[in-house]
């Protein structure tokens, strides 16, 4: 332990602690801007670029960045004397001088960390007017880059490269024109971007935001000729309340349904339903592959990989095009829902698929891209028309003047609104594979599974492995969340070293509850843990905990699909993957 003095407070900290963390321990809050941390996940960004967190260290010539200067024994630190405050304010004014003044119409207004600092510092004038760095606006299917607003905090770059190992974003240009962009400032769409949205979830300003489809939905809702169907993903209900001031981890399933009803959706269904359907298809595929593997079929490839996550699907299409036969062919719950809604359900209510609009509420930005993929269209008509994020839904509810907190608890409609607890836990890392185990165990062993909670599969570590006893058959399971962790498991698969039978992968840290479309967590990893806990609570509250026991699922197979893996099920619920290049392709003209 070492002892130092911060603002006349003596404090003991462990060696290696930064001044910033030591100060926080002493109850002294030092403002930061580029620094970002999700401490439970070992994610930290501290390039030392913004210089907002500078402090005076006695005996040191210049000011020290507190986020990356280690505390030393006997150090005397001043965090708010005139020299420090003048430096901080001057640097903040400099950053603002190269930032557009369009807060009134900025998508990030109210959530912008630069704006918050300007308020905190009481900035009332702009003495450093001058040229502003200007860049081309870039719109992709999911993410908008308005990098005039980039402050070079490099958080997105850290997320994209170190956590996700996608490598789509990095600093380009020099000096005043420096900005974070894809190589050669090409469009995000032409880069290896997977649209996981983690860059958006950490961007402190409005430089990276989602493509907003709210207006398309308003247009559809106001068109009497359209039947508008909405599905809500599991992770949304565990986070939406945050946007209305509720504590993180508050479940708002019923209020969310009521809000959607007030907004005018014709049918309010649940993606949890199609998550159950995913388990039926993916679980069957797992068992079939496992059976063939155990029988010694050399052509079958194990492990089987989950395929619910569109960011993850893009990632392996880009980075592991040689392994396209390894993931399950099952579509994601969003797309299974769309396919069933525009066939089974549309036929049931006698609506032409062209007159039906399917909207999804997702914690995810990659879902926007996923629903635009060509293979999920019938004659150009997409199975899912629009996907909006949890944040967009919250903004929509506020825009419609709905008193969310005082809404009654509504119920999902039938038949695509009924779900099991297994469908709910799709929102958490480890949840998909746990849901699969609940069903696969019973199908494989023919016995009833009494203890449905597979605690060994839960947790926050980036890569987890567990062995589940299938009545004598040890099923080896791997779980990764965050694409960098996924890459490690995939490298083993490619090298033939993987010992797993099945691997679950989710692109975002924490799973969908930490998706790129969720309310901003501003680096508070406790928010993610609370959302995870809420999802498990929702699961526990359910009477039905296994996908194959969901009566609506049973009825769907009886009435329409036959059995899992049938020809019709394959046609509607399975997909194929396409190799994508990571090569830089850009037009010099």
């Amino acid at each position: 332990m070492i002892e130092l003095t911060i603002d006349n407070k003596k404090i003991e900290v462990e060696e290696g602690t930064t001044i910033l963390k030591a100060a926080r321990k002493a109850g002294v809050e030092i403002p930061t801007l580029c620094h970002f941390e999700l401490c439970d996940m070992g994610i930290e960004n501290k390039p030392g670029g913004c210089r907002i967190c500078v402090v005076e260290v006695e005996g040191r010539r210049n000011l020290a960045p507190s986020c990356m200067t280690e505390a030393q024994n006997g150090m005397v630190v001043h965090t708010h004397n005139i020299r420090v405050l003048n430096a901080r304010t001057t640097v903040l004014k400099l950053i603002i001088s190269d930032h557009p003044f369009d807060c009134l119409v900025c998508a990030k207004s109210g959530q912008c960390e630069l704006q918050s600092l300007a308020i905190q510092f009481g900035i009332r004038s702009q003495p450093y007017e001058g040229e502003q760095s200007r860049y081309r606006k870039d719109t992709s299917p999911s993410i908008i880059r308005e990098v005039d607003k980039c402050i070079m905090c490099r958080r997105c770059e850290m997320m994209c490269n170190e956590v996700q190992t996608v490598g789509a974003l990095a600093a380009v240009n020099r000096g005043f024109m420096s900005v974070v962009a894809p190589a050669f400032e090409m469009n995000l769409e032409d880069s290896p971007c997977t649209y996981c949205g983690q860059c958006v979830s950490v961007c402190p300003t409005g430089a990276l935001t989602e493509v907003d489809h709210t207006n398309d939905i308003i247009r559809a809702l106001s068109d009497p000729a359209k039947t508008v169907v909405v599905q809500t993903a599991p992770a949304v209900r565990a986070a939406l309340g945050e946007e209305f001031g509720l504590p993180p981890g508050t479940l708002v399933t019923g209020k969310m349904v009521s809000a959607l009803r007030e907004l005018g959706f014709d049918y309010i269904f649940d993606t949890d339903f199609s998550a159950d359907l995913t388990i039926m298809e993916e679980g069957t595929e797992l068992l079939q592959r496992l059976q063939r593997h155990l029988e010694g079929d050399p052509e079958v490839r194990l492990p089987i990989l989950t395929s619910c996550c569109p960011g993850w699907v893009s990632f392996f299409e880009h980075n592991f095009p040689d392994l396209l036969d390894v993931p399950s062919t099952a579509k994601s719950p969003q797309q299974m829902f769309g396919a069933i809604a525009k066939s089974y359900f549309a036929e049931k209510i006698g609506v032409n698929r062209k007159d039906m609009i399917v909207v999804s509420i997702m914690p995810c930005l990659a879902k926007k891209y996923e629903c635009q993929r060509d293979e999920f269209k019938v004659d150009g008509n997409p199975d899912v028309d629009y996907s909006i994020s949890t944040r967009e839904l919250a903004a929509f509810i506020k825009q419609a003047n709905i008193d969310f907190l005082n809404l009654p608890e509504g119920n999902f409609d039938d038949p695509l609104g009924e779900s099991s607890g297994a469908g709910v836990i799709f929102g958490n890392t480890g949840g998909v594979i746990e849901a699969a185990c609940r069903t696969a165990y019973e199908l494989y062993t023919g016995k009833r599974l009494e203890k449905v909670d597979f605690h060994a599969l839960r947790g926050m570590e980036g890569i987890r492995s567990a062995t589940v006893d299938f009545d004598g058959l040890p099923l080896h399971i791997g779980i990764a969340h965050g694409l960098g962790n996924a890459r490690k498991l995939l490298n083993d698969v490619r090298a033939g070293k993987s010992q797993y039978h099945a691997i679950e992968i989710m692109a975002c840290p924490g799973g969908c509850i930490g998706g790129g479309g969720q309310p901003y967590h501003h680096g508070d990893s406790e928010i993610l843990s609370k959302r995870i806990a809420a999802i498990y609570t929702e699961d526990e509250r359910k009477v039905i905990r296994k996908s194959h026991e969901n009566p609506s699922i049973i009825r769907l197979y009886d009435e329409y699909l036959g059995k899992p893996g049938s020809h019709k099920a394959h046609h509607l619920l399975h997909t194929e993957y396409f190799p994508k290049s990571n090569e830089v392709t850009f037009n010099l003209m």
């Binding site: 390039p47 670029g49 000011l63 640097v91």
Partner: protein, 395 residues
């Protein structure tokens, strides 16, 4: 001058690096060199091949257990890549930008390995110190700055070129004895030392012994060893603007004060030299300059405001003249010059009046004309047209 050493005596560097490797237990040496120095690269390659042939580099040097080899790494000439952490990142194939110290390269450097970074001039001193001994080396120079220093003498001076002088020599000796005095008998004004982020020394520093400490104390630095002599024709505000322009080009963009602050300094200096400066601009320059020094991430940003701060310290009168009198005494700031028509020489031919694009010239035929300074855009068309040398540029 480092290039001259590499071109002229590459073996001194190879030898010094091998000695350094022997001392610290390194087996691998890397030379980071600009790809735009083809001659230095060619000669280094020849020297490395020769050294290997003689067994001075490679496995088991002189039959001992010590092995050491050197490879070249090419840079693209970014100024900031002279900063050791940026240099290492560039060598690793990453963006050439610095990172916080600690960790110092000696703790975690190239590819995360402990790395000793030295510049060419330092290394070039090593073989001769080993040969002649430390006492001999210490006998040259001052108490705290030992040995010699190479300066690149340039500017308004009769003898330009590289000079190697003992530490502690005075500016007067360098300028008037070695440099042969100011060109064309003009008056000495200042000397800019230390490269683009150095500062200006003035007449009052002429007899100060030059070493690391005295230069820093005077608001400049040893830096790259650049020494540019300025005379009475140089405008100190323009000089500061020139260097800031270079810094703006060469800032890596990683930290906010250097990336944006230097741009704002440069813009402010631009306003002052264009005659649009205000008193508050001077305060702004001083505050911004000191904050950039105080908060920047690396040595480039921590020294980049030196040209502004040292000219503010030593030539405030010139700044005030630019700001308040809209006057540049050396006539370097074109926007502060104005055209006048001599009443005596003008014959009233009206040629200037016809050519003036803004109709700023008035006057009747055969009468002396007058330029309205408020309308004149200083294009110079009138002066070019006048056949009687009646129009001149004033400051």
């Amino acid at each position: 001058m480092d290039r001259s050493i590499l071109e002229g005596d590459p073996h001194s560097i190879l030898e010094a690096m091998a000695i350094c490797g022997y001392c610290i237990g390194a087996t691998k040496g890397l030379i980071y060199i600009r790809a735009e120095y083809p001659l230095a690269i060619r000669r280094l390659k020849i020297a490395i091949a020769q050294a290997r042939e003689y067994g001075l580099l490679g496995e088991h040097i002189f039959g001992t257990g010590f092995s050491f080899d050197i490879t070249l790494k090419y840079g693209a000439g970014a100024f900031v890549c002279g900063e050791e952490t940026a240099l290492i990142h560039s060598m690793e194939g990453k963006r050439g930008e610095p990172s916080n110290k600690p960790p110092f390269p000696a703790q975690s450097g190239y590819m995360g390995k402990p790395t000793n970074v030295n510049n060419v001039e330092t290394l070039a001193n090593i073989p001769v110190i080993i040969l002649k001994g430390a006492e001999w080396f210490s006998s040259i120079g001052t108490e705290r700055s030992k040995g010699t220093k190479v300066f690149a003498l340039a500017g308004k001076i009769n003898n330009v070129g590289l000079i190697e002088v003992p530490m502690g020599i005075t500016l007067r000796e360098i300028i008037y004895e070695i440099g042969g005095g100011i060109k064309n008998g003009k008056k000495f004004k200042a000397v800019q030392t230390g490269g683009p982020s150095g500062g200006c020394l003035t007449e009052k520093h002429l007899d100060t012994p030059i070493d690391y400490e005295s230069l820093t104390a005077a608001g400049s630095m040893m830096g790259s060893g650049g020494m540019i002599v300025l005379d009475e024709d140089d405008c100190m505000v323009s000089v500061a603007k020139f260097y800031l322009g270079f810094i703006v080009e060469e800032s890596c963009g990683k930290c906010a004060p250097c990336r944006i602050g230097n741009k704002r300094l440069h813009e402010t200096l631009g306003r002052i030299t264009a005659g649009k400066g205000m008193q508050e601009d001077i305060e702004k320059l001083r505050n911004l300059g000191s904050v950039i020094k105080d908060t920047s991430l690396c040595g480039l940003g921590q020294t980049s405001p030196n040209p502004v701060l040292s000219t503010l310290d030593n030539f405030m009168d010139e700044y005030l003249e630019h700001v308040h009198d809209k006057k540049c005494r050396s006539g370097q700031c074109r926007d502060l010059l104005y055209y006048v028509i001599s009443e005596n020489d003008c014959i009233g031919c009206m040629a200037c009046k016809r050519v003036c694009p803004t109709h700023a010239i008035s006057g009747e035929k055969k009468e002396a004309h007058v330029i309205n300074q408020g309308i004149c855009i200083k294009c110079g068309a009138c002066m070019e047209k006048c056949q009687f040398d009646a129009i001149s540029l004033m400051n």
